[in-house]
């Protein structure tokens, strides 16, 4: 079944034959795997050639390959505008959103693989359950100490504070960061950058109250939290929403240290 696929198979060598493409087409080397279909039970790469046009994204190229050449080619996508987070892929060795990546920015042939460190369900579709599990583990919901001031009245929030949490609220749950993190890959207990950022989003929100804040800090700094981070910055580099993940993790480490000091 899907789980039996070693994520490392996604770094298989490409198919032996690489026919010279006609001048005007772009070559895609796409990862294929299907547990049910005999010719695909063994993970491998297949070559596709698509006609590029101005502004063509990797997602456009995949759609063309599927619609015009092989309807069984499988990948997730929906919004085509970088907001739904469903088409994070491993493109030329880096986690990127297919819809946000112009093909003319890439060296060819373009190699497209599923997100590493997740079980492959089929072709480019991976099982994201583990990622969602980590997100849920940080109690990812607003949870203030006090009830709201009134049915039609907001809890005031300063512009500065809104600015301070702004970047952390942009996460689209694409999974690119966690997939790029070698620590998250090796120990499936580590919360990983996306989940920690989600926790940070509430931790840094001034409306939640001191008790909750302290509890959040505890949760995020427990053994599986921020201290596992080795400041490699890979998450920050790949995040399509440009969230300064490493910075948020560092901030939490600093605050945890300070909070500990208070007790001595």
């Amino acid at each position: 079944m899907a789980e039996s696929v070693d994520p490392d198979t996604s770094r298989l060598k490409g198919s032996e034959t690489q026919p010279q493409a006609e001048d005007e087409t772009v070559e895609l080397q796409i990862f294929r795997y299907d547990p049910e279909v005999e010719s695909k039970t063994e993970a491998h790469f297949e070559d596709f050639h698509v006609q590029p046009h101005e502004g063509m994204t990797v997602l456009d190229a995949l759609i063309e390959a599927r619609d015009e050449q092989d309807p069984s080619l499988t990948f997730r996508h929906s919004c085509r505008q970088g907001v739904c987070g469903s088409d994070a892929l491993f493109i030329n060795g880096k986690q990127r959103l297919g819809c946000k990546t112009q093909i003319d920015e890439l060296s060819t042939p373009i190699r497209i693989e599923p997100l590493p460190h997740h079980p492959v369900v089929k072709d480019l579709v991976v099982d994201m359950d583990d990622f969602y599990e980590r997100m849920r583990a940080v109690e990812p919901y607003f949870d203030p100490d006090d009830p709201p001031p009134g049915e039609l009245e907001e809890r005031k929030q300063s512009r500065e504070n809104r600015e301070a949490i702004k970047l952390s609220t942009r996460c689209i749950w694409c999974g690119a960061c966690t997939s790029s993190c070698s620590i998250a890959a090796d120990e499936d207990v580590y919360l990983g950058p996306a989940a920690i950022n989600k926790g940070y989003r509430f931790y840094a929100d001034e409306r939640e109250g001191e008790d909750r804040k302290a509890k959040r800090l505890e949760l995020l700094t427990e053994t599986d939290g921020v201290w596992r981070c080795q400041t490699q910055f890979s998450c920050t580099t790949v995040c399509p929403q440009e969230i300064p993940l490493t910075e948020h993790i560092q901030q939490l480490k600093r605050d945890a240290t300070k909070a500990d000091l208070k007790f001595w």
Partner: protein, 608 residues
């Protein structure tokens, strides 16, 4: 078989809000969604959420603007329920932690939007929908509501009474995308369809690929009328190459439209001498296309939207993501040069006919959000009015399905033997014809479990046929055929002959669909199979949209007819309804309700 009190189909804004409301009312509720909730299209909304929050504004003013924007095709009870509840619902989101943009004093900011008499659009940067969707999903997690994600709902299990008004919905069947298994989901209380829009009926749309109008098509085929489907909103500012939306917020903040002669045409050519760029979307879309058709467009057919004069600081504060969208998807830096824009399909004003509590004519079947037509947007939706609709009517449907007692509705639903039926000649045979893929209501007299069992068996058979059939066509070809004719003939400008051609083309597509087979033999995550089933929905909806457009010989809101360029209130202040009648689409009408308890809305000329 899975069983819950309430099943919510769809995990977008409407579905999540409905689920929370049903749970708060004490029901055991589950969400069944073909996408993981945070992938829903609500996340793409940019501009904002309307609600009368400030002193100086009032729900009455919001209602009046909505009625006028709708070109008076809306129902006053729905409009008033909406305008009254929107403030509370928006504040509820704030209480759930939604990161709204803030004023200096820490209160939520509001900004002007097209067609509004007061700046009542709350927003969170230019990524309002993203924050809204995530805030709601967080609450769903907090409450531990069950979510069946990546389950594609394909059919409603409904009793087979001759009159749709007597039918009951007991659940749905869904394809587990990961395994390909068809499963039954039973709802003892109610099924809420919150499946979103139908942009994929067109080839240039701001909508996601998942927006294939599944809920509308499924409800239609079990006998629920679809209402005002010809009312399709085209947004005036989409990027020409992809259809990606540039929010109305850009014009709200002062962005300007220019033609190739450097004219600010909205003013200079008199399309909307007072409001200019902030006139309603239909007005601006027609103005742009007129400019393009008369040779004052740029390149292969667009105009330009300029926001440079707003200054980098203001742009980055309020419209930052627009800069990214233009750069990534069009290769244009809007801080340096104007953006190319043209109209694109954006929103379905019509949908599943419901009353103001989200009920359809079938017992146990509800609808909310863009999939539904509670008759709020009429012939033209105001920007910023769709998001509050999701929570006002999502919450209402959720509560209702959970069994909360409500006053009798003011809005009538369902095929009514007394309403005027339209007996007219269509240029071609419409509806199912001999389609073997037809989906009809299931067994009469069966108890709910057995009924669902029948539905599952029928659906397994359909899937088997699609997977093993020997037809020689793929769904892509058929879907493109529909999209192309809709874009050519049922777009911003419409005329009789073109509409007839479109109906013929759609009928051809229906015939071609008979030969469609799925190439991918696998059960695992078979998107080929999924898209094939969705294509059937696209065909049915395209037909209903076009029928309604052909039958409406006037111009109102987003619906503009070359031969009939005026609004004709004496005859056409009425809703178009199309009823499937076991494969034979039938057209009938219901008057728009312009009176509420307190006010009668007098239609006035929509000048801006």
């Amino acid at each position: 078989m899975y069983e819950h009190d309430v099943l919510v189909i769809g995990g977008g804004g409407a579905g999540l809000r409905a689920a929370i409301a049903a749970q708060e009312a004490g029901a055991d509720v589950a969400i069944v969604s073909k996408l993981h909730p945070v992938r829903s299209h609500t996340g793409a909304a940019e501009g904002g959420i309307n609600a009368a929050l400030q002193s100086g504004d009032s729900w009455e003013a919001h209602a009046k603007d909505t009625m006028k924007g709708a070109d008076y095709l809306a129902d006053a009870p729905a409009v008033e329920t909406f305008a009254r509840r929107a403030p509370k619902e928006v504040m509820q989101l704030e209480h759930w932690g939604m990161p709204f943009s803030r004023d200096e004093d820490g209160t939520v900011s509001q900004r002007p939007f097209g067609g509004l008499s007061f700046p009542r659009t709350t927003y969170a940067g230019a990524e309002t929908g993203h924050h809204l969707l995530h805030t709601l999903y967080e609450q769903v997690i907090k409450r531990g509501i069950t979510v069946y994600e990546e389950y594609f709902v394909t059919r409603l299990a409904v009793t087979d009474e001759p009159d749709p008004n007597d039918r009951t919905c007991h659940g749905v069947t869904a394809l587990d995308l990961k395994t390909g298994a068809v499963e039954g989901f039973r709802a003892t209380g109610g099924v809420i369809l919150a499946t979103g829009g139908l942009g994929q009926v067109y080839d240039h749309t701001t909508n996601a690929v998942a927006n294939t109008g599944d809920g509308m098509a499924m409800a239609y085929r079990v006998g629920v009328p679809l209402e005002d489907m010809e009312m399709i909103q085209f947004h005036p500012t989409t990027l020409p190459s992809t259809g990606v939306l540039i929010t109305e917020g850009v014009r709200g903040e002062g962005g300007r439209l220019f033609n190739s002669e450097g004219e600010r045409f909205m003013f200079e050519r008199g399309y909307a001498a007072d409001e200019g760029e902030l006139a309603s979307r239909d007005v601006v879309s027609r103005a742009e296309l007129t400019e393009i058709q008369e040779g004052r467009g740029f390149g292969d057919g667009h105009v330009k939207l300029d926001m440079r004069h707003l200054g980098e600081e203001r742009i980055m504060d309020r419209l930052e993501n627009i800069v990214g969208l233009a750069r990534h998807f069009e290769g244009v830096d809007p801080l340096e040069e104007p953006m190319p824009v043209k109209p694109g399909q954006h929103y379905a004003m019509g949908g599943i006919e419901t009353d103001e509590y989200g009920s359809t004519c079938i017992e146990g079947l509800y609808a909310a959000g863009e999939a539904a037509c509670v008759s709020l947007h009429g012939a033209n939706r105001l920007g910023g009015n769709a998001l509050p609709e999701l929570f006002v009517f999502g919450a209402e449907a959720g509560r209702h399905a959970a069994g909360v007692d409500l006053d009798p509705p003011a809005i009538e639903v369902g095929p009514d033997p007394d309403v005027a039926r339209e007996d007219r000649e269509w240029p071609t045979e419409l509806g199912a014809g001999g389609a073997e893929t037809d989906v009809v209501p299931d067994g009469r007299d069966l108890e709910p479990g057995a009924l669902l069992g029948e539905a599952v068996a029928a659906e397994r058979e359909r899937v088997e046929e699609l997977l093993t059939g020997d037809g020689d066509r793929g769904h892509v070809e058929v879907r493109e055929q529909v999209q192309e004719t809709m874009t050519a003939h049922v777009n911003v400008f419409r005329e009789g002959e073109g509409l007839e051609t479109a109906l013929e083309d759609i009928s051809d597509a229906r015939e071609a669909y008979e030969d469609v087979t799925v190439t991918d033999p696998s059960r695992t995550f078979n998107t080929d199979l999924q898209q094939t089933i969705e294509t059937r929905n696209v065909i049915d909806l395209a037909e209903v949209i076009t029928m309604g457009a052909l039958a409406r010989p006037e111009s109102r809101g987003a619906h503009w007819r070359a031969e009939h360029q005026t609004r004709r209130d004496e005859e056409w202040l009425r809703h178009t309804l199309v009823n499937w009648r076991d494969g034979d689409p039938e057209l009938f009408y219901r008057p728009a309700i312009l009176e509420s308890e307190s006010v009668t809305y007098e239609p006035e000329e929509r000048s801006y």
